[in-house]
């Protein structure tokens, strides 16, 4: 039980990083659009609260996985746009592999795929 409680924040953080890196691999995006795409592409299963999204983005920026720059839209609104760096791309591949293995293991364990 204790182990499960300790693992939870790690799983959450890891899944958040994977989700953000995956959508940024498609195109440079600003925070709101990142949250929207994650929600839409996961069909509402994964939804980011602002309190969760920005610490993840800033953490990834600090580690050099993404860079951010202010951009102005034609309507004059300023947005901070995030782009995946080479380090971020390098990080995404093993993350995908780890999560694929994780879900494969869960499937074997729980036989979800047989249901």
């Amino acid at each position: 039980m204790g182990k499960q409680q300790r693992a939870s924040p790690q799983i959450k953080r890891g899944s958040a990083e994977l989700a953000v890196l995956a959508v940024l691999a498609e195109a440079p995006l600003h925070g709101y659009e990142i949250a929207r795409r994650i929600r839409e592409q996961s069909e509402g299963v994964v939804a980011f609260d602002v309190a969760a999204l920005y610490p993840v983005l800033y953490g990834m920026e600090t580690r050099g996985w993404v860079t951010a720059a202010w951009e102005e839209t034609p309507s004059g609104r300023r947005r901070r746009c995030y782009r995946l760096t080479t380090d971020g791309k390098r990080r995404l591949a093993p993350l995908r592999r780890e999560w694929r293995e994780f879900f494969r293991g869960l499937n074997r364990l729980t036989r979800f795929s047989d249901v």
Binding site: G31, V50, A51, Y54, G59, R77, R80
Partner: protein
């Protein structure tokens, strides 16, 4: 400042960031909420403002987690260790110069051999708080403390971190004193003259740099093209 910026600024008041970082975070999150609000208005939500605000479930967590996320792993080394090492090197160099110019080496006493009591090719340099080098050296320590605190502030250190960097020479001497005290006899005067008073001298120099927020280049990991 838009309404959303005002709301976000109020709720993130006291967040531990530099002024520039705080302005950027407030602008970015306010922009996010504004877009969410616009979309809710477009889709005919009955309570767009309330629903928008509910997108931030925990402001306290946001206030706590953003500074953590922005603090890079090397920050302690950059904010405290680097200015501290520079201060230690300055203090040691100043002590060596003071000793070199102000203390005359004395011939060693031969404790066990020889009836004359003197060995011609052996000299000793006695560095004590009563000696001529102590006060001039002490006078240089506020400079070392000031430099360390100023550097630490420039790298975005908090006041306590700036003070720690500034008094590093005294901490270094404290370890030295402790080692010497363990090896030989302990005299209470030694830590007072070589740790406490130097720490106060360093802190005195650091004092003007302990107040105020970190300088804006602190932990500058944020790319701000166009800002």
């Amino acid at each position: 400042m838009s309404d959303w910026e005002r709301i976000v600024a109020e709720r993130l008041a006291g967040i531990k960031l530099t002024d520039e970082q705080r302005r950027e975070v407030v602008a970015e999150i306010a922009g996010h909420l504004e877009e969410a609000h616009q979309e809710l208005l477009r889709t005919g939500s009955p309570d767009p403002a309330g629903q928008t605000l509910r997108q931030v479930s925990d402001w306290k967590a946001l206030r706590r987690n953003i500074p953590r996320a922005k603090e890079d792993r090397m920050s302690f080394a950059r904010k405290v260790v680097l200015p501290g090492v520079i201060a230690v090197m300055l203090a040691i160099a100043a002590l060596k110069l003071a000793v070199y110019f102000l203390i005359t080496p004395q011939p060693c006493e031969a404790p066990t051999v020889g009836a004359s009591g003197l060995i011609a090719d052996c000299v000793s340099i006695l560095v004590s708080a009563d000696g001529p080098a102590y006060l001039p050296w002490l006078a240089t320590l506020p400079l070392a403390g000031a430099l360390a605190a100023a550097l630490a502030r420039r790298f975005g250190a908090r006041p306590a971190q700036r003070l720690a960097a500034a008094i590093s020479p005294a901490l270094y001497l404290g370890v030295d004193t402790l080692v010497l005290g363990l090896q030989s006899e302990f005299y209470w005067r030694v830590p007072v003259y070589w740790v406490v008073i130097p720490a106060m001298a360093c802190a005195l120099g650091a004092w003007p740099f302990l107040r105020g927020r970190s300088d804006s280049i602190a932990a500058n990991t944020v790319v701000t093209a166009g800002s």
